[in-house]
């Protein structure tokens, strides 16, 4: 019989209702899997509960050897908890590992943890650490390492520690450190987290890219060679030259997890220029890339390369900052929403490579998604709303990054608004500068990566006064609804609240959220197992080179 829970405990009470929702089609596959993982249900158990057939085993037999050449921006290494791009983690993750891995099928695989279990009230998380893993210096991987990392993650006083926000309930808002007594070492291989309030997002948080597990001696060293001197992973770092390239090679010693097929991996930075990456593919200089822009797919196909696709919860929003006149007037904002046909934005901005979204930043991939219907596309109404607001002459200035698809999307939105008779100017700010004021621009486009739970993003981005609330939207009623939703572990129950939240969000008109993106990775024939991941992670332990180029 399938082992349902990761630990020995009996099935979590919330698991079966969730499975029920899934079977009725109220939540999607990946949302279901995410929920199950959060509760500590095994993947196999989740599959069984959800009535999903397990994936067939690999068709081909992996081959050992070869260096995989990857095109990717090589950003400078920094303390992993402050990573602000998945690219950094993709080098780091070959050397050091994560407690949990978010797999391509949206399930969570225990990695350095062997198992975890969530108490019924969702306030206690017990983590069982995998035994038999040793650091490259001979130290045994144990609770000390995990606690060291947990404490570092929870230190919100450190600038730009982005794991702190993922640790949610563990962080004391006063001291900006872990809540005293929350992290409890049970024994050398068991750690218990005692949460002051229920939090169902911890395990997904630990799978996120900044949560690399470093050795207990790690203290913020920024030289990657020193930082990765002691590792648990399959590879060791050979070089890490920011902006240029990075290289790892397989260790001589066997890896606890088993086989790592590649001899090594070399990432080369081709900057953001698509042409040079295509040229690199053509020249046979690279085997695969980090991400392929939707617009380039046709080119890569023309080159006879393979594209791997995955739909994600990543999206872009054109948001108003209500602190700026005339966007304090909901009519002006609504006019824009009515003017834009999200379908066309998807077509022109992303080459149709995604799903149309409905301007409320919760999607069908989220467990708690409530379908409130598509945004009404009504140019006449848009014009009328603007007239009502007395802003007929207003010129919207839409700001975006100069990144290709983001720029194209913003241009498409601007085009739609113009079609409806609104006046729009476009302004582009280079990536390096964009973030200086990203949350203060009156009307701009921001990219949001997908998170396993729908409520996660909404709480992060639209709650009054939240540090990433770029809309300056503030409504006590909305905040109350958010609190309510956050306290409801059951997605079905949460859905009712979500319906209100989604409706309020859309009616407030603060965001145009045209689509959910699909992301792509391209690789040449003869390279196996480097399919794109929903969070752009590179799980290269699964990759191997069938034939040299």
């Amino acid at each position: 019989m399938t082992k349902l829970m990761l630990t020995g405990r009996h099935l979590h009470p919330m698991a079966e209702p969730a499975a029920e929702s899934f079977k009725r089609g109220r939540i999607g596959r990946r949302e279901f899997l995410a929920t199950m993982a959060a509760l500590g249900v095994t993947t196999a158990g989740a599959l069984a509960l959800g009535g999903i057939a397990a994936r067939p085993a690999r068709a081909a037999e992996p081959k050992k050897g070869g260096v995989l050449r990857v095109a990717m921006n090589v950003k400078a290494f920094r303390d992993p908890r402050t990573f602000d791009g998945v690219e950094m983690s993709n080098i780091a993750r070959q050397c050091n590992e994560y407690l949990v891995r978010w797999k391509r099928d949206f399930s969570f695989e225990p990695w350095l943890l062997e198992a975890w279990e969530m108490s019924d009230d969702a306030k206690t998380l017990t983590m069982h650490i995998r035994k038999g893993i040793t650091w490259s210096n001979g130290d045994t991987f144990n609770a000390e390492d995990v606690i060291h990392n947990l404490n570092r993650w929870c230190d919100a006083s450190v600038d730009a520690n982005s794991v702190a926000s993922r640790m949610g309930a563990l962080v004391d808002s006063g001291t900006k450190k872990a809540v005293p007594g929350a992290i409890e070492k049970v024994d050398d291989f068991t750690v218990k987290l005692n949460l002051p309030k229920p939090d169902i997002s911890l395990i997904p948080g630990m799978a996120d890219y900044p949560a690399v597990i470093m050795h207990r001696s790690y203290d913020g060293e920024t030289d990657p060679m020193k930082a990765f001197a002691i590792t648990t992973g399959a590879c060791e770092l050979v070089s890490w030259q920011p902006q240029v390239s990075a290289e790892v090679k397989r260790k001589d010693k066997p890896w606890w997890k088993g086989e790592f097929w590649l001899d090594g991996v070399k990432w080369t930075d081709y900057s953001a220029d698509l042409t040079s990456m295509i040229a690199a593919f053509e020249s046979g200089d690279i085997d695969t890339d980090h991400e392929t822009a939707a617009d380039s797919l046709k080119q890569t196909e023309a080159l006879g390369l393979t594209n791997s696709e995955i739909a994600t919860g990543s999206t872009i929003v054109a948001r108003f900052n209500v602190g700026n006149k005339p966007y304090d007037d909901v009519k002006v904002r609504q006019a824009a929403l009515h003017a834009v046909d999200n379908k066309v934005v998807l077509e022109l901005g992303l080459n149709g490579k995604g799903k149309v979204a409905d301007n409320h930043h919760v999607g069908p991939m989220h467990a708690e998604f409530a379908d409130i219907g598509p945004q009404q596309h009504d140019p006449a109404k848009a014009k009328a709303l603007l007239k009502d607001a007395g802003q007929e002459t207003h010129v919207y200035e839409l700001i975006s990054l100069d990144d290709d698809w983001q720029k194209a999307t913003a241009d498409a939105i601007a085009g739609q608004m113009r079609d409806a008779g609104l006046k729009v100017d476009r302004k582009i700010i280079p990536a390096a500068t964009f973030w200086n004021d990203w949350n203060k621009y009156p009307f701009s486009c921001t990219e949001w990566l997908g998170r396993p739970l729908g409520i996660q993003v909404v709480a992060l981005a639209y709650k009054s006064g939240a540090s990433w609330n770029e809309t300056a939207y503030s409504d006590p009623k909305f905040d109350a609804l958010l609190d309510k939703a956050l306290a409801q572990p059951d997605p079905d129950k949460r859905r009712e609240t979500m319906k209100e939240i989604e409706t309020m969000l859309r009616e407030s008109g603060i965001i145009i959220q045209p689509y959910w993106r699909s992301v792509y990775r391209t690789y040449r024939k003869g390279v196996m197992g480097c399919d794109q991941h929903q969070a752009l992670e590179q799980h290269l332990d699964q990759a191997w080179i069938e034939s040299e180029s």
Binding site: T275, Q299, L348, D411, A412, R418, D419, P430, N436
Partner: protein, 381 residues
């Protein structure tokens, strides 16, 4: 549409340009004997071709509204990367003659409209660079001495800067926020006013009535344009400059200025040894009169040639800015930006990038040929 039909349609769309070209060229060739230096240009094949190419784009920019088939910003669903000659859905009889770009906009119309942006910025920026070059280069060349040393040093300083770095430092939003471009514009745009004030002042110093009248007109007009361009504060709202465009404009002027300075300075140094300058000096003419009325008109030959070349160079420079993502404005149909946008998909869709690239090449080529023709004519005299 077949390729032939596309070409035919395009030729037809350019009808106003053909008429304009004919209206300019036929009388020019007929009366070339009476038209002085310009008429002589008509006897030079290279100059004729160059002038033709330049005029083609000038007229295209002028008649752009008549030529375009779609609004250059209109995005039509279904026309993304459409091939040349694709019919527009819901608009019977309408086509994207050169296809659609990545945002489903009409490449043809964008190329035609792009000529406006290019021809609005490049010649104007070159002109401003010339004004500044005159105001600094003439005295430097004419007087020499310490003034020359200081300004030549400054010019060399700017020239020692890698152009790209300069642009990276000048065209960023950070610099815009710091107000430096406005300040620079405030100074640079003063040069033309100073130029005309001195020009008139030197000429009519003996005639107070005319002096006051002309100076008054110059100052009123000049300051009016000035308030609009430099500070975006034109009380009547006629002259305005988008801050991003102002920034680029100022930077381009700034980069060109030292080169023009050096040319003007060199010419002034050469011409000041002429007897007619000595004659003017022995008449007791003021220095500015000599510089602006005696030296400058006689330096015009090489200056006009360089002016043509410089417009071409500035056009390329604007394209370079687009290439580095520092371009005019995101949706602008200017050629540099469209080339850069189009090149990303070049290997599958060459049609969005090639027309603006060819347009840019032909304009710059035209300017170069024109300059060459002018130079050859000057040598023959």
């Amino acid at each position: 549409m077949s390729p032939l039909e596309i070409v035919g349609q395009i030729v037809l769309r350019f009808l106003p340009v053909w008429i304009g070209l004919a209206a300019i060229f036929v009388p020019s060739i007929l009366f070339r004997r009476r038209l002085g230096p310009y008429g002589k240009l008509m006897e030079n094949r290279v100059g004729q071709i160059g002038l033709g190419l330049v005029l083609f784009w000038v007229l295209a920019a002028f008649f752009a509204d008549l030529i375009i088939t779609s609004n250059p910003l209109d995005q039509v669903s279904g026309m993304k990367n459409a091939l040349p000659g694709t019919a527009i859905p819901d608009r019977p009889g309408a086509f994207y003659l050169l296809g659609g770009d990545n945002l489903a906009r009409d490449v043809f119309s964008r190329m035609v409209m792009g000529s406006r942006t290019v021809l609005a910025i490049a010649p104007a920026a070159t002109l401003f660079a010339y004004m500044a070059g005159f105001m600094l280069g003439l005295p430097a060349g004419y007087f020499g001495g310490r003034f020359d040393t200081v300004f030549s040093f400054a010019a060399n300083l700017v020239l020692a800067f890698p152009v790209i770095l300069l642009f990276y430092l000048l065209v960023t939003p950070e610099i815009r926020a710091s107000g430096i471009p406005i300040l620079a514009a405030a100074i640079l745009f003063l040069f033309p006013i100073a130029f005309f004030v001195l020009l008139i002042g030197a000429r009519f110093s003996a005639d107070p009535h005319k002096l006051v009248l002309y100076l008054g007109i110059t100052l009123v007009l000049g300051l009016w344009v000035y308030s609009g361009l430099a500070f975006n504060a034109d009380p009547l709202g006629v002259f305005a400059m988008d801050p991003n465009r102002l920034n680029i404009f100022v930077s381009v002027v700034f980069v060109n200025m030292p080169v023009v300075f050096r040319i003007v300075r060199g010419l002034a140094m050469e011409i000041r040894t002429r007897d007619y300058i000595a004659a003017a000096q022995t008449r007791g003419e003021s220095s500015w009169y000599i510089m602006l009325w005696e030296i400058l008109p006689n330096a015009r030959g090489p200056l006009i040639v360089d002016f043509c070349l410089r417009i071409g160079y500035t056009t390329i420079l604007l394209g370079t800015l687009g290439f580095f993502g520092l371009g005019v404005s995101p949706e602008s149909p200017d050629w540099g930006t469209t080339i850069n946008d189009g090149r990303k998909l070049l290997s599958v869709y060459p049609h969005p990038a090639l027309p603006p690239a060819l347009a840019l090449m032909s304009l710059v080529l035209g300017l170069n040929l024109l300059a060459d023709g002018l130079r050859e004519q000057a040598l023959k005299d």
